[in-house]
């Protein structure tokens, strides 16, 4: 290792940089070879700790990632040796861990195994509620408390969930591998759904609903970009990225400077992020070129139509209704049904839209706030004041955001004076 001894500050910065850029890649590499996520995490975190101790003395190494990988590998081999009775597994493990390649320029080139990691986190055997948290912790290093807060789950419970999921991977010997073609679509879909769950809801079509009321938006988009880059010819991965980018592009317009809620049709399009919309459109075009339509591409296309208001100054509700009708054929979620009804309200009027809402099973919407927000505004438009008031109350009671609550309270107050 070369390098002059430097102050603790630079060593810390180097370790921090290595962490941010490489944590996921290093962990994926280690985990794919030892198949014990928790042990790989511990080994890597020990390696980072010893880097912070050693580098101020010895200098920041020329290849920090290689240093960390070596340190982590040693710990893993030791750990495994302690666990294994006969110690047979240790030499095999050491060999498996030793196959990092060094290219001609002397830079470590170890393969990017993160795609395998994503597939493992979203494996069918892993509890659905654990898949997104697992991805967030394993690849981005988020702690259980931060993840718990995003999903409104107690930190202790989230911690347990993560421990159980990692043990499952180890004990059930879940393989870190790319699924073969026959399983690809279904497995990829699980990965994309898990990424989407980190974002929250990526639409704001309905006045009084709140897009991404929970979730880790920037982390989700990071994962979306990673997936889209790792599998450039997967149409749905491109579609998911486009969907999240379109929604994120409008974030600044959703609140006034004083924090009041602004529904989509009243948003100032000048506040929408043009670079993000442009990126979303490029990605959506790339998805369409694959010729394999799917749920996320359709949802992205709907948001793309909304985005065109910035250019045409009107919303093409007929196109949106058509796209929702298509979406309902392949993914009849509650969100899609309510979105379709919202579009129908603009193309065929509130009465037709209310009929559509009636068809949504009551049990699926007891706590689904956007249903009630839409229903309330439709009933208000249809002149059914008493029913509208009740629906507004329901929507308000189910809202998680103070600004949305305030908006709906005002809309409800307007009923009395109408």
């Amino acid at each position: 290792m070369r390098g002059d001894p430097v102050g603790g500050g630079e060593a810390f910065l180097a370790a921090e940089l290595a962490a941010r850029d490489s944590y996921g890649r290093l962990l994926a590499y280690l985990a794919a070879r030892c198949r014990d996520l928790a042990a790989a995490e511990d080994a890597l975190s020990d390696a980072f700790c010893s880097a912070l101790r050693a580098w101020p003395r010895t200098g920041v190494p020329e290849r920090p990632e290689a240093w960390l990988l070596t340190a982590a590998r040693r710990r893993l081999v030791d750990h495994h040796r302690r666990l294994t009775v006969e110690g047979e597994a240790a030499p095999q493990l050491a060999a498996a861990l030793a196959d990092a390649q060094v290219d001609a320029s002397g830079r470590d080139v170890f393969p990017d195994e993160r795609l395998k990691l994503l597939f493992a986190c979203a494996h069918p055997a892993i509890d659905e509620s654990a898949r997104t948290p697992l991805m967030l912790q394993i690849v981005l290093g988020l702690d259980a408390g931060r993840i718990g807060s995003a999903f409104v789950v107690s930190p202790a419970a989230m911690s347990q969930r993560l421990v159980r999921a990692k043990s499952k991977i180890r004990d059930a010997r879940i393989r870190f591998e790319i699924p073969d073609l026959t399983e690809w679509r279904a497995r990829m879909h699980s990965v994309l759904e898990a990424i989407y769950a980190a974002y929250g809801t990526a639409w704001d079509d309905i006045a009084g609903a709140d897009a991404q009321r929970r979730g880790l938006a920037s982390q989700a988009i990071w994962f979306g970009r990673l997936a889209a880059a790792l599998v450039p010819d997967d149409a749905e991965a491109q579609g998911l990225l486009a969907l999240m980018l379109h929604c994120e592009a409008r974030r600044a317009a959703r609140r006034t400077s004083s924090g009041a809620y602004v529904p989509l049709d009243r948003q100032d399009v000048g506040l929408w992020s043009r670079p993000m919309i442009d990126e979303a459109e490029r990605v959506l075009v790339a998805a369409a070129a694959c010729g394999r339509p799917g749920r996320f591409q359709l949802e992205a296309a709907i948001q793309s139509v909304h985005a065109h208001r910035a250019v045409t100054h009107r919303t093409d509700w007929e196109a949106i209704a058509l796209l929702y009708a298509g979406l309902l054929q392949i993914a009849p979620t509650v969100g899609a049904r309510v979105g379709y009804a919202a579009a129908l309200a603009e193309t065929r009027g509130p009465a037709v839209s209310l009929d559509e809402l009636e068809r949504v099973p009551a049990a699926t919407v007891t706590t689904y706030q956007p249903y009630w927000a839409l229903r309330a505004s439709l009933l208000a438009r249809a002149g059914s004041t008493k029913a509208a008031r009740e629906a507004y109350a329901r929507a308000i009671g189910l809202s998680e955001d103070g600004a949305v609550r305030a908006f709906l309270l005002e809309e409800a107050a307007r009923l009395s004076t109408a």
């Binding site: 107690s154 007891t366 706590t367 109350a393 329901r394 609550r405 309270l409």
Partner: protein
């Protein structure tokens, strides 16, 4: 399983209850929340409480009875009300706690009830 949701409000929020400009929004939000709980079939009980100034605290230590005007603890946020919910698990109780208006300005504590 039963959970108690304890609602801690700031002095500003307590004031909103009687402030002409804010009381409609304040009570409207809590009425709506209560209605949503009832219609979801999860509300078992609950009450709004008069503010901390109306509290009286009783202690009886070593045969000495001490009665104090005021709440148990002097804190900026004070208990303003509570709900008792019957839900399948803590996650569900926390989701409802997140909808309580006080979670945006004060704090909402969720505790599982003991089965007696």
């Amino acid at each position: 399983m039963k959970y108690t949701v304890l609602i801690y409000e700031t002095p500003t929020e307590f004031e909103a209850r009687t402030d002409a400009a804010r009381k409609d929004a304040y009570w409207g939000a809590y009425r709506a929340y209560t209605q949503a709980l009832r219609e979801a079939g999860v509300m078992v009980g609950g009450a709004a409480l008069h503010p901390a100034g109306s509290a009286t605290t009783v202690r009886q230590h070593d045969g000495n009875r001490k009665v104090q005007d005021g709440p148990y603890a002097e804190a900026k946020e004070q208990l303003g009300g509570y709900y008792i919910l019957e839900v399948p698990d803590l996650d569900s109780a926390l989701e409802w706690a997140g909808r309580c208006p006080a979670s945006a300005t004060g704090a909402v504590e969720v505790r599982p009830n003991l089965n007696m």
